[in-house]
């Protein structure tokens, strides 16, 4: 196994890049298990994975703050423009512009504020822009869901997406897990098998045990 890692590093991969890459199958499996075994409805698979990576860049506190900002900006745009005839992408584009203004506004407010938001690593001004951009992508998923489902259902999915993203972020922060993956690449074929098995899984999801408890009680 070491040989594979060494070969990759010799060929230009950095250890950090490799570690981030190795977490991708873990996060994908996490979303898969959450969806079909637990029953958590996330905004697809891309959104929770992207958010997990984004939170790694921004830190969880700033990450959640920016996420809240993005959702507020998106919802406001959607609400303000709901009566105006407009194409879908134009609407999202306006939401992105608003998000940008909002983030700049929050950073400036933080700068001039006597009490500044900081974490161990950095303050809000030094948050990597890539992290913010990744979180801003949530606007698209939010609107798409809101277009086809009720607000309650959309918010429920958002909460579930954030829950998975935070679990993913926690996993990525475990250095022991990262080192373990580095040294035990045999885990990945197992993940493949696990995902394949979940793909065939027909049993009840954990949430359905709660959802149908009244039916369960009524069956004699």
């Amino acid at each position: 196994m070491d040989n594979i890692i060494n070969t990759l590093i010799d060929n230009g991969f950095t250890a950090d890049t490799l570690q981030l890459l190795l977490f991708l199958p873990i996060l994908a499996t996490l979303v898969n298990v959450s969806r079909y075994v637990v029953g958590l409805k996330t905004y697809g698979i891309y959104a929770p994975i992207t958010l997990s990576y984004a939170y790694l860049f921004t830190g969880i506190r700033f990450g959640l703050l920016i996420t809240t900002g993005v959702i507020i900006a998106t919802f406001t745009t959607f609400y303000l423009l709901r009566k105006i005839r407009m194409h879908y992408i134009s609407r999202i584009s306006i939401a992105y512009i608003l998000i940008t203004f909002l983030v700049i506004g929050v950073v400036m407010a933080n700068e001039i504020s006597p009490v500044q938001l900081t974490t161990d690593n950095h303050n809000l001004n030094t948050v990597p822009p890539l992290g913010i951009v990744l979180i801003a992508g949530l606007a698209d998923f939010f609107i798409k869901k809101f277009n086809t489902k009720s607000l309650n259902s959309t918010i429920l999915s958002l909460v579930e997406t954030l829950t998975i993203a935070m679990i993913g972020w926690s996993l990525m922060r475990l250095t022991e897990l990262g080192n373990f993956l580095f040294e035990n690449l045999w885990v990945f074929p197992l993940l493949l098998i696990l995902n394949f098995y979940i793909g065939q899984y027909r049993g009840l999801q954990l949430k359905e045990y709660f959802r149908f408890r009244k039916v369960f009680n009524a069956i004699r």
Binding site: Y36, G39, L40, K41, K83, R85, H87, Y88, K144, N147, T148, K149, S150, N152, S153, I155, L156, V159, E160, T163, Q200, Y201, R202, G203, L204, Q205, K207, E208, Y209, F210, R211, F212, K214, V215, F216, A218, I219
Partner: protein, 484 residues
């Protein structure tokens, strides 16, 4: 622990989303069938070809260009605008009336919709905002179903709809969705409409459910409710045209080629049952409204072959009828038994097959203590005891009230000691006062086993080998309409 595990297996009767998608939606629905179900215009075409009524189609709008050329004056006062490939009721705009001499229509909320409002809504539909896959869609304008007078008092503004799940061309479960104030007149469970389970046999509603809220633990939480927003009880609503509804559902399955589907119908005041949608991915909440598992029902009709539509209805009714009985039992806490009920009876303490018999028992509220035929009691192991008793009785032959009392006083203890007879009773048989032995029997009735005291009676006075009397019947309700 074993009981817990055994009980837990009851979850196997419930259909979850994973199995619905993997086994039933993907496993039994053809690509062509799904294409028909996902396209309302195609559904209308296919169903009307076999004579099934669907709401009349007024206009199809495929582009913004066409939208600009609609002659709104040619539309009726009331109509519905919906996406062709919409799902879960999103994007459906129901217009109940039109203001005089104005191009202004009224929504269920009372909101006025003018032409620009309608155009905006149609544009959203064309952009695919309410459609599966979110790609562009077609908007359709169709006839509004007028609520049947019988349902008017139950629903708030909208029209209740009926969902029938059909599998293998056999209706397996049904539910009525009743619009409420919360649902804003729509018949969508997720927006707060009431879902009422329907007894397949009689077409009568049973339990009602209503969305309580959302939670991360179970997504949608439903409460069991007993009354509609208009204050009427949910259980006991007789759905008109029930047989026709079941027949129509089967025909929809045949015409669409779908093996597993939900057929959505409404009852129009003038036209009767009208199909407005065929759904290839019916939701699983219907199980909550019926308090019954769908998976076990689907497995029961797996592989059955129906000869024709009426045969399918008959199979469905005989397999899945009876929820009403369960409902009454759950309300009263008492089991429902037929006038003539099959039971098994055995002499207590015996295990041999010859000491047990299955017979038809009559539920007889006219006698206090239950009765057993002399011949049956003998066969079950009381031959010697009864011989001893009747020998003694024929020797003494008591006939007056005093003699009967003295016989019981003198011999009851000896008889109890010498035989398996429990006590003696004074009874009037064929108009004459006499003494009869009372034995205890182990009886299994409606799934429950209990010890019952029975007077051994002469064969000549018994139409049925066992009559269950008042003492035992206090635990049961007798359904006079059902006989064995």
């Amino acid at each position: 622990m074993i009981k817990f595990l055994r009980d837990f297996r009851k979850y196997n009767e419930i259909l979850g989303m994973n199995r619905r998608n993997q086994e039933y939606f993907r496993g039994h629905n053809t690509h062509t069938g799904k294409k028909i179900a996902d396209n309302k215009i195609k559904t209308k075409k296919v169903l009307s070809e076999i004579g099934i009524q669907t709401p009349e189609l007024f206009k199809v709008i495929r582009s913004v260009e066409q939208l600009n050329h609609i002659d709104w004056s040619r539309l009726p006062r009331s109509f519905v605008i919906k996406p062709n490939r919409g799902s879960t009721g999103r994007g459906i705009l129901i217009l109940y009336g039109k203001r005089k001499n104005e191009f202004a229509w009224v929504k269920s909320s009372g909101q006025i919709m003018r032409i620009p409002d309608l155009e905006l809504h149609i544009e959203k539909i064309l952009q695919g905002r309410f459609s599966m896959g979110s790609s562009s869609d077609i908007a359709i304008i169709e006839e509004r179903v007028i609520n049947d007078n019988r349902f008017k008092e139950y629903s708030y503004k909208g029209v209740p709809d009926i969902r029938v799940i059909v599998y293998n061309q056999i209706p397996v479960m049904a539910m009525m969705r009743i619009p409420t104030i919360n649902s804003g007149g729509t018949a969508n469970l997720h927006t707060g409409a009431i879902g009422a389970g329907i007894d397949i046999e009689s077409g009568v509603t049973t339990t009602g459910i209503r969305l309580k809220g959302y939670s991360i633990v179970s997504s949608y939480d439903y409460d069991i409710v007993e009354h509609t927003d208009t204050g009427l009880p949910i259980a006991g609503i007789k759905i008109p045209y029930w047989d026709k509804i079941l027949q129509t559902s089967i025909k929809c399955a045949q015409a669409s080629g779908l093996g597993f589907l939900g057929v959505d119908l409404a009852i129009d005041r003038n036209n009767g049952p009208v199909v407005f949608e065929v759904n290839a991915r019916p939701g699983v909440s219907i199980q909550l409204a019926n308090l019954s598992g769908l998976r076990s029902r689907l497995e029961r009709v797996e592989g059955l072959k129906i000869k024709n539509v009426n045969h399918g209805v008959r199979i469905s009714k005989s397999l899945f009828g009876g929820e009403i009985v369960e409902e009454i039992e759950s309300i009263t806490g008492k089991e429902l038994v037929k006038v003539i009920e099959p039971i098994t009876v055995r002499k207590p303490g015996t295990t041999k097959k010859k000491n047990k018999e299955s017979v038809k028992a009559m539920m007889d509220t006219g006698v206090k203590t239950s009765r057993i035929d002399k011949g049956l009691a003998s066969r079950l192991g009381f031959t010697k005891s009864l011989k001893y008793f009747y020998n003694l009785l024929s020797e003494v032959n008591p006939s007056t009230s005093k003699e009967v009392s003295e016989f019981i006083k003198s011999y009851e203890e000896i008889i109890q000691h010498e035989t398996g007879i429990k006590r003696l009773a004074r009874v009037t048989e064929d108009g004459e006062l006499t003494v009869r032995p009372v034995v205890e029997m182990e009886v299994k009735i409606s799934g429950q086993t209990k010890l019952i005291e029975m007077v051994v009676s002469s064969t000549s006075v018994m139409n049925h080998p066992i009559r269950i009397g008042q003492k035992e019947l206090k635990d049961y309700l007798i359904d006079g309409s059902r006989t064995f």
